[in-house]
Symmetry: C2
Subunit: 214 residues, 2 copies
């Protein structure tokens, strides 16, 4: 990203700033209504931009959606890198990852609905995105490393697939949060109180550690 000098006078015409506003508004709108339900006019309004700008910079609603998705994945992967899991002992690293994933999903609920939307469309917007592979590979490799280190240290049992583990860590947080509305009905319980959220995190950490421990 370019630096945001504090002394910079606000330009009336600022391509970059406009694009950012459009992307932020689009993320909100797509997250709220899905691809089919999202309205380009609403995005333009919320971005304080003219609809013409959206088509100028992003060509189509679908290409805008693609860009929003890629950015969303880039954001979470960037945040994960900042955890420096490779510097932690295996058990702490995994616990940190479970806790981080949980908190990230809570702080960024749009990520969850965006991913859901993209999967409804069979990931056709991200299919073939080189950027996605660049983002994912280091992350998956990192978790595989933690596992290996854990096995070598004798704290984790051998033979666990890093991909299965990754999916499971995501699943137990993701499902609870995206399906919290139907969940509240099925289980007749408020799943979003502080106590409920804390209990779920503890449960998830327990689930993963029991899965891994030798």
């Amino acid at each position: 990203m370019t630096e945001t000098a504090t002394t910079e006078r606000p330009r009336i015409r600022d391509a970059e700033a406009t694009q950012k506003r459009i992307l932020a508004a689009a993320r909100k709108e797509f997250a709220k209504s899905g691809l089919g339900g999202a309205r380009v006019d609403t995005i333009a309004q919320r971005a304080k931009a003219n609809k013409r700008m959206i088509y100028h910079y992003f060509k189509s609603k679908e290409q805008l959606f693609t860009r929003v998705l890629e950015d969303a994945y880039a954001d979470i992967r960037t945040a994960e890198r900042k955890l420096h899991l490779d510097e932690l002992d295996p058990e702490t690293a995994i616990t940190t990852l479970v806790r981080f994933t949980w908190r990230y999903y809570q702080a960024n609920p749009e990520f969850l609905t965006l991913v859901n939307s993209e999967n409804l469309h069979r990931a056709r917007h991200l299919k073939g995105s080189a950027r996605m592979h660049e983002l994912s590979r280091p992350f998956v490799g990192m978790v595989a490393d933690i596992l290996e280190r854990g096995v070598a240290a004798g704290v984790f049992r051998p033979g666990i697939d890093a991909v299965q583990l990754n999916i499971t860590i995501a699943a137990i947080g993701y499902y609870y949060l995206t399906n919290r509305f139907t969940g509240a009905i099925v289980y007749e319980r408020d799943l979003m109180t502080k106590e409920a959220l804390d209990a779920r995190l503890a449960f998830n950490i327990e689930t993963i550690l029991r899965l891994l421990r030798a």
Copy 2:
């Protein structure tokens, strides 16, 4: 349901049959495109019914969606009841439930996308549905029973919340399947081969048993 006598000549005008065709077509269309992306005209066409019939029987697109959702939950709960988990020993019962859930989601992928769609809309269609509570309560109670029996028999550790367990069993299957498209990109692996699916089921059973065992 009324009996379907084999000798019955197909009536030209058959309210019940038409409603069923509409519901089946609607489930498909809503599952494929979400509430916002679904087209009432498409549903009418696929149901071989006039669009007017949809409004006659279901009042609105949203009420049709509500009905489709309720029916989907009724279907899975009915299938679960047929497992007679109360007649199995605790460990077998849980394993059976994990396996059933996994297979049901695979055989009925529309259920997953419908639930996702409803959660995108914060469950406003199912909120206050008495039918949903009637369906859910026995199911949740059943799993709680299995847990209790397992603790009494000394095979499960005490203190596990039945709701957390239920959510986790659903999560580890559900997430893998709904997010299989972005998953294939992130993990650069086909998640839907027979081998991959078998491996996931085994992993999920292991995850749950390790979570429960004393």
